[in-house]
């Protein structure tokens, strides 16, 4: 099987997704978790580009990727604001310390 560009990009999507999942499971620093969320979002953007490429609908794909970029940046901003507040009130960014709510 010869690798088509599409196959390579799809591979990248799934790999980024895997890396992102791994990060979600092991990262303990809240800000690093936000980095991981960004990686996951990149996987999604790449998936749209791949889909647009495969369907020859790149304009549509691009518009969606642009939306995702913007929405994701907004989420990142809010997440970072939350992280700053967490640091202020918990004295740490370690999510393993954020376990007062359980059970």
């Amino acid at each position: 099987m010869s690798l088509s560009p599409l196959a390579i990009v799809l591979l990248a999507v799934t790999l980024l997704l895997g890396v992102g999942f791994y990060g979600l499971l092991v990262a303990r620093n809240l800000i690093k978790l936000i980095v991981v969320l960004q990686i996951l979002a990149k996987a999604a953007m790449l998936a749209f580009v791949a889909a647009g490429y495969g369907q020859e609908h790149m304009g549509l794909a691009q518009s969606m990727v642009a939306m995702v970029i913007v929405a994701d940046t907004v989420v990142a901003v809010i997440a970072l604001a939350l992280a700053v507040q967490v640091r202020r009130h918990y004295g740490t960014l370690d999510v393993r310390k954020l376990t007062t709510l359980r059970g």
Binding site: A41, A44, F48, A50, G52, H57, A61, M67, L82, V86
Partner: protein
Amino acid sequence: MALWTSSLHPFLWLIVIPVLASPVVYLAGRLAGAALARWLALIALIVTCAPCVLAAQELAANGAATFTLGLVQLQFDGLSLLLAGLALGLGTSVTLFSNAYMRGETGEEKYYAALLAMIGVMVGLGCANDLFNLWVWFEAMAVSSYMLVAFYRDQPASLEAGVKYLVQSAAGSVLVLLGIAAVFGATGQLSLASIADSVRQAGATQATSAGLLAAGALMTVGFGVKAALVPLHTWLPDAHSQAPSGISAMLSGVVIEAGLIALLRAVSALLGEGDAVARFGQLLLLFAALNMMLGNLLALKQTQVKRMLAFSSLSHMGYMLLGFGVAAYTGQSAAAQGGMFHMLSHGLMKGLAFLAAGALLYTLYVAKGAHGPLMVNDLNGAARRYPLAALALGVAVLGLAGLPPLVGFMSKWQIFVGGFQAGDTLVALLVIFAALNSVLSLAYYAPLVNAMYRREPSHAVRLGAAMPPTMIVPLVVMSILVIALGVWPTLIAWLTEPAGQALLAGW
């Protein structure tokens, strides 16, 4: 720009008014004080009820209405009406309730602005008829709720809840996006209707159907995070218990339901006919069983009122899933309609429960500047000082447990009828499991009610503040609705029936 001048259908106002009112409320609050923001938000929502009635009438007369801008279409069908009605009704109650509850909090005007925007985009979510558009509304709903969950940003627990909610939501959102990309890549379509068409007609190739399968899984899990399917639910008890009580009511009463509606809308477009639908139904039934079991057992262990209610939301999500799962698995219209009815009745009852618990939390703690959790023991003897709030909470939780003459009984009944009509042993057993779960839920609701009617009031109750009338009004109205619909369930059939049909039309 002819697009802009096309005549605006009434349902568009349901989205436009709250979303446009949001910045106005914020600016009014900044410039003229929070009092203006409070009342302006309420007025905006009440004004929105007028187009809601119009849209409902139009729907009944002419069927689903659409609005197209470019390639993207909004469609107002029964499902949209249900979500819009729920969001607007509960939203109005919450706004009125928050009037006293949030008074004097820092950032009060932002609270109302975000709440309004959330209501607007939720209506939009219900109308979305395009996969990517659905996601944009969905994400907007999520973004507007992040701040509301973590609103008490000086409290560590609230921040913790916000962090968990945000991270899990965002992860779910990425999965949804991947799913949409997979659909787009497999079919080249984004509009739900044309996706469904191409799935049915094209005699899908191997590659396409595998891609759609992956998309279905990704979207189920992605939207499932918001709909709190077990084991994706872990954010819910934290967020629902830590948010301001009005927001807890919104989250539990509408937002998770909106997640479920998004899930059903998106995935049902991919399924085509027959086998895949049944398999999806099985999946929903599996989640239904998990949700009911885990939600009830864990609620049994809770000593904080709001956290208990949050876990009970999980089990009620299970009942809805049971209804929809049966509908998908066997094509039962009664079950689909029952699921819709339960969605509505859960929104009503859980909203009422959170508002009543919030009213008590307010009078016992918040009004005095303390932010403690409301423990079951704090409610001891609450009925003597706050008879209406205690009655409302009692009505709400007993209704949630499915006791007549409250609406929860009738909506569960309808789901169960659908389940039995399916004539499938496994489904029937699951229905009996659900009924047993209802019995189990009494084991934590009943002590709560007992505590409120104790003669010896707790310290907190004895020293509690007076309850402002703006809190009592929504409680009374919603309690009356809970009882009225429990006695005459078909009063609401005009809302649930088209919603059930709209859902089944996709299968």
